[in-house]
């Protein structure tokens, strides 16, 4: 049973640990900023003497505070926010010639409590031949897209990019409403009619 801490509780001097998530530094002390369990990694015994020797010899352990969640009903992480360089899954909601608007519902493999709005601008769709990209040939409303956050953007939109092989459309329906499978990096084929549509396809793992 690890000890439970509350915000404001000092955990140790900054010299003994590297601060991880859930802690902050105040007056040379590492202080908890969450209610939860203290986690040190690599695991050290809690006796101060061994911790001190570990600090003297090699890199000090990282200390963090984690709040346990009930996995059953708190699967959605309510305090999750997209950050720059986080990978997100989003659904395309609107498209026009300049950008595709998307609603983000998964951030770093965690479902978020609220959906965030993001945009994929035409220059962020792919890495090469940026001038030739057409949004209409890359995304359609309803597509599920894996993208990366490149900026927190303006007041309402996160700026997303699909300029990488493993980023792009991962699920899409054809114009007739049939599911499609990818056939190459820029085309998907309908499972029923065999019609080929253009998309910016993510490379399957």
């Amino acid at each position: 049973m690890t000890s439970l801490v509350v915000p404001g509780q000092p955990l140790g001097p900054v010299s003994a640990y590297i601060p991880g998530p859930g802690v902050h530094i105040f007056n040379g002390q590492i202080v908890a900023s969450l209610v939860g369990q203290v986690v040190t990694s690599p695991q050290t015994s809690s006796t101060p003497s061994s911790a001190a020797t570990a600090a003297a010899t090699k890199i000090p352990p990282t200390i963090s505070v984690q709040k346990p969640v009930l996995t059953t009903d708190e699967e959605t992480n309510a305090t999750l926010l997209p950050e720059v360089s986080s990978t997100v899954l989003c659904r395309i909601t609107r498209i026009n010639a300049r950008q595709a608007t998307a609603s983000i519902f998964v951030v770093n493999n965690h479902i978020c409590g609220d959906e965030f709005q993001g945009v994929i601008r035409v220059q962020d769709v792919r890495l090469t031949e940026v001038d030739k990209v057409k949004i209409f040939n890359s995304f359609r409303p309803g597509d599920i897209v894996r993208a990366r956050v490149i900026s927190l953007g303006d007041q309402s939109n996160y700026y997303l990019s699909t300029a990488s092989n493993e980023l792009g459309v991962i699920m899409a329906d054809s114009e007739m409403g049939d599911p499609m499978y990818p056939i190459n990096w820029k085309e998907m084929k309908s499972t029923r009619t065999g019609v080929v549509e253009e998309r910016k396809v993510a490379k399957p793992f």
Partner: protein, 334 residues
Amino acid sequence: MAAKAPDRRRNNPPSHGTTPPVFLSSSSGPVKPKQSSRPPDEIRKIFLRTGLISSVTGSSFLEIAPLKLSVSVLGPRPLPRTSSTPFAAQAILTTEVKFAPFASTVRRGYIRDSSERDLGSRLYQALVGAIRRELYPKSRIEVVVTILDSEDEGDDVNTVYIEEGKTTVETKFWDAGRSERALGVVLAGCITAASAALADAGIEMFDMVSGGVATSFVDEVSLKGKDRGDAVSNKLYVRDPAIVPPEGKAPLATCVLGYMAARDEISELWISGKVGTKNGTAEMDELVDEAIAAARSARGVLNEASKERVKFIVDKSGTAPPTEGGTTDVEMSG
């Protein structure tokens, strides 16, 4: 569709009918206000529990004698699309305090009145410094407090009645600090409960804020006498005061504050009443110290209540402390 629209022109009865209220017989005589037997430096017992509302990020419920309130924390959630606020690098905190219509002895309306707005802005001030808002850019955190029961008597109490022909202005009660005392206890409760709810929501904070309230009393006779300024010697400080003043005492001033115990910082300070002019600073310091002591006592409850929920989750899931880097597979069932 037209049948469903409510009839706005008539005063409609409730659709399910009503039953007449049944009152207890009043043969037991007029109810005397209960005089508390606790020492003045002891706060009343606090009941505080977190995580009771599942539909919000964090929640708490608090009871201190007659005061009952629940706090919901929503967010961090995206800013509304129509919001006029430009890019917000830090989370925007909004606080709202609402008395239920039946929460005070005088029935309140559904629309927020001035004292509710005032409590809301004081609660904001108490909490805003404690939250690590820079971790939540482009989002807002909402703290919604619903007061279900309190000793407050509504805005009526301190309303000044001026009758024609009379030059003196008389308040309804001789006890001038009554409303402040009631609202002070409410605010202190709001601060403590809101901190618990924020902790339950998993929002990172520098420290938890606990609320404390203290009132200074003097002997009633000395207040009526000429030398009211010299009545410093027999001052009585009461932490977490009830609305009924102690026997034979008259209130001088009430102090409410939000206090971060681990950092020894005051985030919100509200003093109302008279603090003597002669050695006013000392009097004020004493009053503030008493309120801090009350807040420290509340902090102990706050800590335990916050841990209680986490302990419950740990016990229920029976998981060992999560190890860094090693992700555990989730068993799919049901």
